[in-house]
Subunit: 204 residues, 2 copies
């Protein structure tokens, strides 16, 4: 999916095909958030005025590039994460045994469909400290790009977590649901606070 | 730019080239927000269960498709909006007359560079009522996609407005600055409230 043209990716999203949906869009949002943090770091490296933060910015650029790559792959990963559920839905349900097997496969698939977007949210959350660093220490003429990075990453995290929650709603394993729900809530709160903290650094 | 592959667009963003920057990313975010509202409408149209909202959903789909197209073109438009400033910066500044002309051209260019992202923010804001409508009335199994649409659009609006503000900071025409600043603040507040209102409708 990352090899589609931007215009075609948007058209495919808009169509009545279920994928790419909100989870894949979350991954795109994260990839572009990472790219912007990377850009600000790259616009800082090699500038005399910012020689003191040269090392930090090189580390940010490297880490952001890794996250960008990972999140670009996550676009496809999210779309694939519902595959097992789709396969299970097509299983026969004529006998009690068939019904039982189908339910088991569905439940296993739903756990994957809930876990993958949670992992994507975790990937996207890793951008926040990078966005913070470029806003605080990076090239001042690109500070707004660092702020946009933080907003894209926040939206990526919250959007991916919505996909976790919609799948959790159909999972019957209460322990699994309550464990993951707790993590989701924690990450939601953390990313909202983190974004606010970074946006408060805006000079505009 | 909309004809670049997603992966190449992200790589170009990450590079030390100043464009695409936060303003173009804002436009992408808006285009994908529009695409998601359109998708939810398209997943609602033709379904017996939602026959009562068929007309509304067709209108949402049409309007969202228009906004998607417009925002995809805005990716390039934002990157081009700083062109006049770049050209003016290269003008000679040896004599007082040359300096005066250069400043005039710079100031005129900055007004364009502040106005274009404001217009992009207005385009992206138009998605909010569409996102609200699909969250309230659209196919319930895609409600999270409507919520992601609202978040992508909010981020698009706020990100584009940051680009307006960074350019306003260099404009000397106080009337222009105060007029546009007032509009920017109003739109910022409106989009934050609107997003909160839509996210509060989340069943998750």
């Amino acid at each position: 999916m990352k090899n589609m043209k931007v215009v075609d990716f948007a058209a495919q999203t808009a169509s009545a095909e279920p994928v790419p949906g909100g989870g894949s869009i979350a991954a795109v949002s994260g990839a572009l958030g990472a790219a912007l943090a990377e850009m600000v770091a790259n616009l800082t490296i090699g500038k005399k005025k910012y020689v003191e933060v040269e090392c930090d910015m090189k580390a940010v650029s490297k880490k952001a590039a890794e996250l960008r790559d990972r999140l670009l792959d996550d676009i496809q990963r999210d779309s694939d994460s519902f595959n097992d559920v789709m396969i299970a839905m097509k299983l026969p349900k004529n006998t009690d045994e068939e019904k039982k097997l189908r339910t088991e496969k569905m439940q296993a698939g739903l756990k994957i469909a809930a876990t993958v977007p949670y992992e994507i949210a975790c990937d996207a959350f890793e951008i926040m400290p990078l966005a913070e660093e470029v806003v605080n220490e990076g090239n001042k003429s690109a500070v707004t790009d660092g702020l946009v990075s933080a907003m894209m990453s926040r939206t990526a995290v919250l959007s991916a977590l919505l996909n976790t929650k919609i799948n959790l709603a159909s999972i019957k394993d209460e322990d699994f649901v309550s464990r993951l729900n707790k993590k989701v809530k924690e990450l939601e709160n953390k990313v909202k606070e983190y974004e606010e903290k970074i946006l408060n650094k805006s000079p505009y």
